[in-house]
Structures are given as structure tokens and as C-alpha cells.
Symmetry: D2
Subunit: 261 residues, 4 copies
């Protein structure tokens, strides 16, 4: 059974900016989706902000194993209810790959609980993405580093939680460093943030960048059934405890009552 990837893109710059149109005539989502060309274990679809429910209906998310997210100027246009829906699916086990300026997306900030802020500079400088955790599946088949001729700089401090694993760290020509590939888990869902991908450069045509995206998608895939009860707070009655008990002392809750939340 194939991994069902869904590439989401706000798809705004592509409509208004000649430079971005030229680099990504079909939209960044299609360039990212090309990462899965030839991968027989993955099927891919795309979704964009302007579709009904941003292309992220309950049913579609239920059929998505790994969601990839690109956004930049339109973070504020993403509906809060849909952000909550995506978050819930991550908790249930859907993988999430957040790309580049997606660091400021509502969904990433909500899953991290931090500002996710950073320094930046758009000067077309060299970025060198170093592999520091060679064993990680996301680094499979990569060379020592990926050199990208022109990229936007993102610099530390990147206000994210301490990652579960730091896989990639970037060097920039202008003198900064950045944790460019970091992993997290939230509920049953795995999350990977991957830095490169400014819309003014052809980064998503770089085969090594696409290889990271392919690897990350395989890594983020959770084959287990959706953990739909992830947010439940079940009461375990005293007589159904692993070691059945008599109730001792006073009680605040009535028997069978649902807990407060």
C-alpha cells in the first residue's frame, strides 16, 4: 500500500510575481511533488489555499499519510478551523513536512508552541547544508553537504523547541548558521522542518533538495491505524483498574462522569 503524500501550497507568489512564475510555472507544489517521481511506494496529490477548505477537507486529510506545507505571504489567510483539523490529523499519525517560510505558518507554530522566529536576508548567497546525523533515514544517500548557489539566509537563533534530532545544519556565505533539518513528534505524528526553498530561486529543482523531501516523507509515514482517540481522557473505573480497587476517601466526581477539560 502506497504512502499517500499531499503537497499543500498557498500558491500566491506564482500568480503575481513574474520571477516566481518563470521558476515555477505550475506552482511550487508541482515542483515539490516532483520529488516523488519514480517512487513507486508513494502517490502524490496537491492542494492550494484557494480551493474549497483550502483543499484540506476532513475526508482528504483522512486519506493523507504525509502532508507537505509551503506558505509565505498568506499564512494569515489560512482558516483557523482548518489549522486545527490539520493539527488533529498530525496527532492521529499523519506526517508533516514543513518547508522553508512555513516556519511561520499557523500549523507549525501551533505544533511547536514557540515563536519559530529567525533572522533573514535575501541576497542570493551560497547555502551549504551539512549532514550532521548521517544515520538518520532523512539523510539516506546524501553527500557530506548540499551546496545551493543562491538562497535566502535564515539565521539563528531559531526559536523552536530543542529538536528530537538535529539532522542538518546550514552554513551561509554571509556568516550565519541555521538548524536546517530538525525532527519532532506530536501525538502519533512525526514532523520534519526543512529550511531551503525560497521562491525567488530554483531550489526545488535541485535533485538533492528533492531527495531530502523524498526521504523525509518516507520517514514521516506512520503505518499504524489513525490514533483517533489521541485526545480522549478516558475514565478507568476503580473496579476495572488493572488492579481492581475499592474507592477510598472522598470523591469530587460522580461515578461515570466525564472529566473536565
Amino acid at each position: 500500500m502506497a504512502i499517500r503524500a499531499l503537497v499543500w501550497n498557498e500558491n500566491e507568489h506564482e500568480k503575481t510575481n513574474a520571477l516566481v512564475q518563470k521558476l515555477y510555472p505550475k506552482g511550487i507544489h508541482h515542483a515539490v511533488a516532483a520529488a516523488f517521481a519514480g517512487a513507486s511506494d508513494i502517490t502524490v496529490e496537491t492542494a492550494t489555499l484557494d480551493q474549497p477548505e483550502h483543499g484540506l477537507s476532513e475526508e482528504r486529510l483522512r486519506k493523507t499519510d504525509v502532508l507537505l506545507w509551503w506558505g509565505h505571504k498568506a499564512h494569515g489567510k489560512v482558516d483557523d478551523a482548518i489549522v486545527e483539523r490539520v493539527q488533529r490529523r498530525v496527532w492521529e499519525g499523519m506526517g508533516l513536512i514543513v518547508l522553508h517560510s512555513g516556519h511561520f505558518s499557523k500549523i507549525f507554530k501551533r505544533l511547536m508552541g514557540t515563536p519559530c522566529a529567525l533572522k533573514w536576508r535575501e541576497a542570493g548567497e551560497v547555502e551549504r547544508v551539512w549532514v550532521i546525523n548521517r544515520n538518520h533515514p532523512i539523510a539516506a544517500g546524501l553527500p557530506e553537504y548540499i551546496e545551493i548557489e543562491h538562497e535566502e539566509m535564515y539565521g539563528e537563533p531559531f526559536t523552536i523547541p530543542e529538536p528530537l534530532e538535529t539532522v542538518l545544519i546550514s552554513w551561509f556565505e554571509g556568516g550565519e548558521v541555521f538548524r536546517s533539518g530538525v525532527t519532532y513528534q506530536r501525538g502519533a505524528g512525526r514532523i520534519f522542518y526543512f529550511r531551503p526553498g525560497h521562491e525567488a530561486y530554483p531550489t526545488y529543482h535541485n535533485p538533492l533538495v528533492l531527495k531530502v523531501i523524498l526521504n523525509a516523507t518516507r520517514w514521516a509515514f506512520n503505518p499504524a491505524p489513525a490514533w483517533t482517540a489521541v485526545d480522549d481522557a478516558p475514565n478507568v473505573p476503580h473496579d476495572k483498574a488493572p488492579v481492581p480497587l475499592d474507592v477510598k476517601g472522598p470523591r469530587l466526581h460522580e461515578a461515570g462522569e466525564t472529566g473536565f477539560r
Copy 2:
């Protein structure tokens, strides 16, 4: 200069439930604040839900080094704008100690990015809180374990992110286990979740429970000036880079423009 602690309590059960009134006649907040009696390095105040701005005005939070949070039945009554204000102060460096049923508070869920759900049972059973990270400052001066005669059970899976450090794990008479003391960092703020403290039992009169609260408050204190720029995304112009650069290639942003968010 003393650590300025602020104990926040929804203070609802205390008004309506005779049992809780008897156990905590001045409110749980005052019982928790008693943890600092005799600690010359800490000053303590209290705040409750029913005060203007829930007792958590901008000014008061600015003068708070460590906030302790107890809530249960009134999580939904806490104003979202005030939750955001508290979150921002945590990012700036304010410590946060989340107590017991506070696992489902808006502020804790927002900082964790997960459901923070768990199993529960109110049967007055024995809880034994084991110290598993003896070196941690939060465990200073504790015995091998704290035995609490009557407590509510909280059972795994507790849907939190993998902690930075697991300090305490509880054993329950009815057969469950629970990560009872876990640490996190969000921005410049340190967070500690501490499990015991059901309002139907005299847990906050237990000297060892209060010792954990005292230790945790000292640990969570960040003496650095508030990191008020924690959410900024400053542009570093090409000619102000650590290694000054010429701009290469195209640009999306105008010089001096603020980035999208």
C-alpha cells in the same frame, strides 16, 4: 533580588464544594503559596480567575518571574487573549509550573502543541512518585520517592512531546504509571509539569510535594533580562552581514521591507 512567584488558581471548586473548602479554606493558591514560606529568595503573590484580566495584567506578568498554574473545571473560561499574553511571557523568559489538572489548561496545550490527554480515576488510591533523575535541581533533597496516601490516578499514555528531561515517574495502586515530573523549554522560558494535586485530597499540605514546587520554582527562574525580541524576525541587510555581501541574483523583497508572517 528575590524571585517573584505568582500562584494562579481558577478557585472554583473552593466556592462550591464543601470538601474542597474544608481542605483548602483559603483556596488552593494559598496552599501552594505556602511552599515558599521561609524561602528568603522568593516573594509570592496569588491571582485568580475572577479578578480583572484574571489577575494577569500585562504589568503584573512583567513583574512575575515564575507563574504557577492550577485549573480544572474552568479551563474554558480563561480568556484566549490572556493565554496568549502568558505564552508570550514564557517565551520572554518567565518560568511556568503547571500543576495537576492544569495538563488540560489552554496555556499548557498551547505551549506543548499536543492534546496533553491521559487516563484518570478518582479512587483515593496510593500514588508513589519516584525520583528517576536524582541530579536534577527539582529533585534536590527528596527521598527515593514521595508516597501520597490518597490521590487521583493519571495514567499513560500522556500525550505530551518527548520531555527535555523526565524527573519523576509515578506508580499507582491500581496498576498504572505516569510521567509525573517533566521539563521543557519554550523560547527563553522553562516549563515544569508536576502531576499530584487533586482538589479532593490534602496533597498540597504534603511537605515533600511543596518541596518539589519550591525546587521547581527556583529551577524555572531565568535571571536574564526579558527576551522581548523573541518573536521578531529581523532582516540582516547584505551590507550589514557578519561577512558583508553583494546581492546576487533576483530578489522578491524590496530593500528594507519587513518579511511576511
Copy 3:
């Protein structure tokens, strides 16, 4: 290409103790190897202390993807040179599953850098192994907990480094808790410690215990080529740097010299 598992057992109690002989007539290694029965993606062999080089020759280790380790009374008989050989293979990418009393094995202590000590009691009490990280591949297909009728108790504090992930926590009838399933990475190798398995009880005939062992073996498998250069400290000459440099200032080392170690 199948995962090549190798189950190592000191195989001493089996020769001298009638109880262990009866429970594990072919040795604990064969009971553990039964975890892979029916797993078409895994081939399994066994090795024991009394074989030449403890059954762990250079060649055999080179052909091993995941090593499982059971030892107890004969830790001291394991040759230091072979321990170093195993450690090196872990660094190169071989997975390692350390079972039960293997917490005190030379190889585990060497990879952890800590005492790996714990409390213990042999009273045939109930152990309940709770799954706390449901999403982890090692927990695939497990129920909420594994209940083992008779087991030796291991109690905290377990002096290991803070784990990468805590997957399982045990509850014991006598009142203790223990981190029963924890993960680490050392070099390119993944390590899983799994607590149950005292030789006086039929634990390795429990299908759920064997399922954890099967899952852990799949998880620990690193499909990448062996990282044989993992311990190299290569010099990168100034003119071969990613950004070629002129040498500035004085030098301690001659050009082309090997670094100190």
C-alpha cells in the same frame, strides 16, 4: 535483502541450573530467536560465549545487521577486545538490542558511559509494561500494556543517560517503576534496551515480549552501507576547503600531518 539478526547469549545458567534448563532447554538464545519465526524479512543466527571469539568474529559481525545481547553472570568473561569490536560495529551502523540483565554488560556500559545500575528483587511479582510512546515503531501492534505474571523487579533510579525516546515504562507489584524500553543512537547504530527476561521465568515464551523484540530489530536495522570511517579524523587542507583559504597565522601541524589522538 533480509535483515541479518544475531542473538548472543552467555548461555551459562542453562548449563548449571535445572530451572533455567527446563524453561529454556535449547538456551535463551533460541527462545529469543523464535521472535523471528515467520518474519520473512529477517534471518537469524545465534552465538554464545563459549565459542571461539565468543562467536563474534570480525567477519561474522560484518555480516550482522542487528545484534541481540543476553548476559548475566558472565559479563566479566567477555573479552575486552571483542567488546571493542562490537562497539565499533555499532558505530558503523549495526543495531544493538540489549536484553534484561544485559544492562550490566560491558558493551552496554561502554556505549552509555554511565553505571547502568538499578534496584532489583527476585520475588516472582507481576510486571506491567506500559506503552507510553504509541507511535514508536517498537510499539507497533502492542496493546496498552504487557502483563507478565512473574518477573524480577528492576527499579529506578536506572543510571542511564536521558534516552532519545522513552517507549515503555514498567509498573511492579511491589511498588517500583522502571524505564523498560529506551532508545539511543551511537555513531550510525541504533540501540534499544528492553527490560523483561529474567532467566527464572518463561518471559521469552510470551508472544508480546517476542513482538517487542521483533519490532525493535526492524527499528534498529540501518540499511545504509557501514560507516567504516566513523572514527576517522580527516584533515581538510586549506586549499581543498569548501571555500578555499590561504593559511593565516602560525601553525602547529606540518602540512599533511595526521592529527593527534
Copy 4:
């Protein structure tokens, strides 16, 4: 009561190399010890390889709260028995700051369980040490980065375990990056590795480098009494269990017997 710091240096280059002699006429240990000048909460002594027991007798280590370690060409001359002694003191709670080429010291490799290898180049290039965890006590009072005009390059992959916290990351003029400040805990002892400090450059005369060393020493200090039982494996008899038990089923060990190790 003051923190008792002890700066250990192999002190070999200083005897044979004119360049190092000129930079550090009293030895690198005295330059490092100068970090504590004016710190009324810290007393400092030094020790060197050529002293009896390398200056690290049982008694002296017992009176040391934080040990700082500089070694390079003489790692192999350090006696294994003394390495074990130091390791044990770390487990008991002594802090350890490992400096620069100490990454290949016996004590660091033993505590990490990994090769601790890296790339290197001696070209006098610029190193820029970025603070990425601003809240960490080790970063107290630092600017955004420390710029060092001439340093040896250390490059990733640095084969260490995933750190507890990554505090500092370095950028090098020649194009590499390196995790320059990382924390660990082993037993009750805190460990900090700090990269800069090649003996051919005046790095230990840089006030910001000394500030990191001062901060790290305060952070690594554990005020708790030494955990001398850290390596014990105590038996908890069935009738002394937190929940006293009857023995069920067979036993391998005699009552009162010491466990195997």
C-alpha cells in the same frame, strides 16, 4: 561555600613549542584558570599530566566540584585507572568541562560512548560561535556570536550522541559548521563540551571565551552531596518492598545474595 574548580592540562606543547610558550607562558591551564579571576563564588587550582597521579588523586577529586580538561597530543599517556576515577567522580556529581582537542580524550570518549571524531584544518581562519540557545545559563551575558579571528576548524559530522541541549554552533570561514557547545548528563554529573581553544592561537585570552568557561563552570556545579552509591545495585527484599510481597514462583538467587555484575 565556593565552587571548587580544577583546571587540568597535559601541558606538553608548552614545554616543546616556542609558539605555544609565547602564547601561554604559564601553560594553558593558567590561562583557562584566569576565567575565574574576580569570581568570588569560585576557587580554582590546576593540575598537569606530569604530576603524581596526573594531579588527580582520589582525595583531590573528592574536593573538586568542576573539572576542566585540556589535552591534545598526550591523550594516550593518561593512565586508564585515573580515567576511571575521573569518570566515577562525574557519575557522583562532579561537573566536567571538556575543551577543544579534549574531544579525543579518553575521559570524554568513555563518557560519550562514541568515537567523538570530526574533520579539522589548521589555517588560522575566522570562527564565529553563534548562540542558539539564548536562555541557557552557559550563554548568560553573551552577544549574538563570538567572533574569533584565527582558529583551527573543526567540522561536522562530530560523532557524539545527540546532545541534551545544543547551546552553540560555529561557522568557519572555510565553509564548515560545528556544534561547538553541547551539554550532557552522566549519572549525577553535568558535562559541557566547548570547542574553541587551539594552542597555536590566543583563544584563551579572549574574554568572551573565558566568559563561556565561567558560565559553564557555574552551570556544571552540582551542590548535592556526592552520589557515592551511583554504581550500586541494591537488592530490595520482598518483605522490604514499598508494597511488601510474598515470593511467588522459583528463584535463582539465594536470599541476601549480591546480584551478578
